[in-house]
């Protein structure tokens, strides 16, 4: 575990050294949210109707945008090969990579999302549910995105392929995530949706690293 902590510190240090890169998903989130009023018309009540779905889909897309690069930089300079040769179990080390990715993207998205919720005129009672569902949901998205990243890291033109591979796996998270926010807006209890998201998170934490470890070994060997 102590090796995981060191890996996590390394990844966060790398992310901090390039602060602009942390800003990319947030800027992407802001811009896409700004697109929707232009497309759907400025009237507040139509926007309020679409707000939960729009916010969640934008968060999902910005997560997808960044998940491709999780292993790529280490693959290019050879550190990934060293990681595979480390005596520590690979699927724990991979969790450190995904944890760092989540901290630099998912967490920040959740923290910033109330601002965009207000821009889209989301009723105030929905904001707490939005932040909670985003916190749990983006963790699941990062884990599943990691699988796609591990499988396509060795490919020269893997960028577009990763979205085809993992978007179908993102859909259940989107369904329950936006449903949670819609329930909060409608005054219904949010707990069951968050519970299901939590269950997905547990499943993802248990199974995704195994697939990632296998994917990395295959990509390195190709």
């Amino acid at each position: 575990m102590q090796f995981c902590a060191r890996l996590l510190r390394r990844q966060l240090l790398l992310a901090v050294r390039r602060p602009l890169e942390i800003g990319n998903p947030l800027l992407f989130f802001a811009m896409v949210v700004a697109l929707f009023p232009l497309g759907l018309g400025p009237s507040p009540d139509t926007l309020a109707g679409f707000a939960p779905g729009v916010l969640w889909i934008t968060a999902l897309l910005s997560n997808l945008l960044t998940s491709d690069g999780v292993f790529r930089s280490d693959f290019e300079d050879g550190s990934l090969e060293q990681l595979l040769l480390a005596p520590q179990p690979l699927f724990l080390s991979v969790l450190a990579y995904i944890g760092a990715h989540w901290l630099t993207t998912g967490l920040l998205l959740a923290v910033v999302s109330p601002l965009f919720a207000l821009m889209l005129n989301l009723p105030v009672q929905g904001i707490a549910a939005l932040v909670a569902s985003l916190l749990v949901g983006t963790a699941v998205l990062s884990l599943v995105g990691g699988i796609g990243a591990a499988l396509t890291v060795g490919l020269k033109r893997g960028g577009m392929l990763i979205s085809l591979l993992i978007l179908p796996l993102y859909m259940p998270v989107l369904i329950f995530g936006s449903a949670a926010v819609q329930a909060a807006v409608g005054g219904l209890p949010v707990a069951p949706y968050l519970a299901i998201l939590g269950a997905m998170l547990c499943l993802a934490i248990a199974l995704a690293p195994l697939a990632m470890a296998a994917g990395l070994r295959i990509s390195i060997d190709a």
């Binding site: 893997g158 591979l165 369904i175």
Partner: protein, 248 residues
């Protein structure tokens, strides 16, 4: 390890046995398909509610059922190739993917065409049709990933991992789409009331489902034979095979 399991792994034996199976399975499949279609199209009474458009059930439901089963076959073959490192399972997985994708497309197209007369719109976001669409994306994901790798050995392993991940996710996707459909649709109108189907309509449906399963097996074996030749082209048994072909 059981001897039969390993014998199944040797390419020439598999090539010969698949040829033998196909020789009698292919005609049976074609016969079953033709009789099922003619029976369903022309000889069953029309349904009181939907009139004759329900006849599409005879190709929509079997295609959907076999497409889903095909994904599990592919994932299972992938698991075998990953765990026991058997090349033949890898070939079976590679062969199953395009056939499954084609059947999913058939299920989707017939579902959409069926929606027009009964629902008035070409595309209905019905729970099962949407899950079928996601299944098609999963299939295309596997096929695209296989093509993206240059080294075919690694491609097979990567697709095995992806199909296993997909297999774990299919029940989640189906349940969440069903749940999503019931949330927004209020009372969920059953698209095709399978259980309440009249016996005279049920028999052709069962025949068609069996015919589609047989069709899937035939296509799988045919694809495997073609794939086997390509992968084993430098071996002796392929050369011997060619010489026999050249001679006769």
């Amino acid at each position: 390890m059981w001897p039969i399991f390993h014998k199944f792994g040797s390419p020439p034996w598999l090539y010969a046995i698949s040829g033998a199976i196909l020789r009698w399975l292919l005609p049976i499949t074609l016969l079953a398909l033709v009789t099922g279609m003619v029976w369903g199209l022309l000889f069953t009474p029309s349904e009181n509610v939907q009139g004759n458009s329900y006849r599409i059930i005879y190709i929509h439901v079997p295609a959907a059922v076999v497409a889903l089963a095909g994904y599990y076959v592919m994932a299972f073959a992938g698991a075998i190739s990953l765990i026991w490192r058997m090349k033949m399972a890898d070939v079976a997985m590679k062969a199953a993917a395009p056939v499954g994708a084609a059947l999913t497309f058939v299920a989707l197209f017939t579902g959409a065409v069926w929606g027009k007369p009964t629902w008035g719109t070409w595309w209905v976001w019905d729970a099962r049709i949407t899950s079928m669409l996601i299944l098609l994306f999963l299939y295309l994901g596997v096929v695209a990933l296989y093509e993206a790798f240059d080294n075919k050995e690694a491609a097979g392993k990567a697709c095995a991992v992806l199909s296993l991940v997909g297999m774990v996710n299919i029940p989640i996707i189906y349940k969440s789409v069903d749940w999503w459909y019931s949330l927004h649709q209020g009372a969920s109108i059953k698209f095709t009331g399978e259980t309440s189907i009249h016996s005279s309509m049920l028999y052709p449906l069962l025949l068609m489902i069996a015919a589609f399963y047989a069709l899937f097996t035939c296509c799988l074996l045919l694809n495997m034979r073609a794939e086997l030749l390509q992968r084993e082209q430098r071996t002796q048994w392929v050369r011997k095979l060619i010489n026999e072909d050249v001679v006769n």
